[in-house]
């Protein structure tokens, strides 16, 4: 039974591994983006997500950056407070 199970798991993962291969380009890649005018960067050196933003360099957006950093800090504080509120009573410890 163990062996059958192992085979089943193996088959499953093999099928998945097969699937995991990037499929043949189904849609033509979104029309080759014109190189952004300001910096004709040859090597694609950019973090995730930027591939979709081929309209050149994004200007500004600082409010989003501050929102994200603020959210991170506020989250840490809020979760710390929630842990403090739920702290175990001394007698129980």
């Amino acid at each position: 039974m163990k062996a059958a199970l192992a085979v089943a798991l193996l088959l499953g993962s093999v099928a998945l591994a097969d699937i995991a291969k990037p499929p043949p380009a189904e849609t033509p890649p979104p029309a080759e983006q014109p190189a952004p005018p300001p910096a004709p960067a040859p090597a694609a050196k950019h973090p995730e997500g930027v591939e979709k933003a081929y309209a050149g360099v994004i200007q500004g957006g600082w409010e989003y950056v501050y929102a994200a950093y603020g959210l991170g800090t506020a989250g840490v504080l809020a979760y710390a407070v929630s842990l403090f509120v739920r702290r175990p009573k001394k007698s129980a410890a």
Binding site: M1, L5, A8, G12, A15, L16, I19, E26
Partner: protein
């Protein structure tokens, strides 16, 4: 009494479920009418544009099946929980794994029958073309029903005894079923509509992988879960 083999015991559990179901046919009737209503509601929500409806028919079909499956899976262990029948079943010299296999097959067969009933309804409501690749379509429906039942059986055994069980089952089950829904809807789409890039095979593979993985994991986990019932 001779101890039945794993598959023999699974068959006994399956037969028992079928017998209970056949005696009243209440569960099947209920979920058939429930999903009929769901499919009808989808067409009301989307408006009478037949082109849109036809394009989205696979999605509606699988959502209808998914919603019905929650009702049907919930019922599957509620029957057992009512008179502590599952405890009795676990105490019999039957491996809990056999109960798992039997229950998965029981739930899957019920859903499969439901899906076959829904096909003509989909033709009537959404004007889909079933004649393009009927064999693959039936295969997709079967694999999808097994895929819903495999994790669903474990989760329904868990939630049958939890508080707020009607909320618990979908809350636990739906996130896990996301890949199944994607694969089943895409595969169904390519059996009903032209498939120029031959993507059907790969979606079928994903469905099979999903089924095998969840059957194995459920097979391993179910005895632990049933112990606590």
């Amino acid at each position: 009494m001779k101890r039945p083999s794993l598959l023999g015991a699974a068959w006994l559990v399956l037969k028992k479920d079928w017998q209970i179901e056949w005696r009243t046919r209440a569960r099947l009737t209920a979920i058939i009418f429930f999903s009929l209503a769901t499919l009808l509601l989808f067409s009301f929500a989307m408006g009478p544009d037949i082109v849109t409806l036809r394009a989205h028919a696979p999605g509606y079909l699988w959502l209808g099946l998914l919603f019905a499956s929650v009702l049907s899976l919930g019922e599957s262990f509620r029957v057992e929980a009512e008179n502590q029948a599952l405890t009795g079943l676990v105490l019999t010299p039957v491996e809990p794994r056999a109960i798992f296999i039997g229950k998965v097959l029981g739930n899957a067969s019920l859903l499969f029958v439901l899906s076959l009933v829904l096909l003509p309804v989909a033709v009537a409501l959404y004007d889909v073309d079933l004649g393009r690749d009927p064999l693959s379509l039936v295969l997709v429906l079967f694999l999808g029903c097994v895929g819903i039942s495999a994790p669903g059986t474990v989760y329904s055994a868990i939630s049958a005894n939890a508080r707020a069980r009607d909320v618990m089952l979908p809350l636990l089950l739906f996130p896990v079923l996301v890949p199944l829904l994607l694969a089943a809807v895409s595969a169904t789409k390519f059996t009903l509509q032209p498939d120029p890039q031959e993507q059907l095979g790969s979606w079928l593979k994903l469905l099979t992988a999903f089924d095998l993985i969840y059957l194995s994991v459920g097979f391993l986990l179910f005895p632990k879960v049933a112990e606590e019932d």
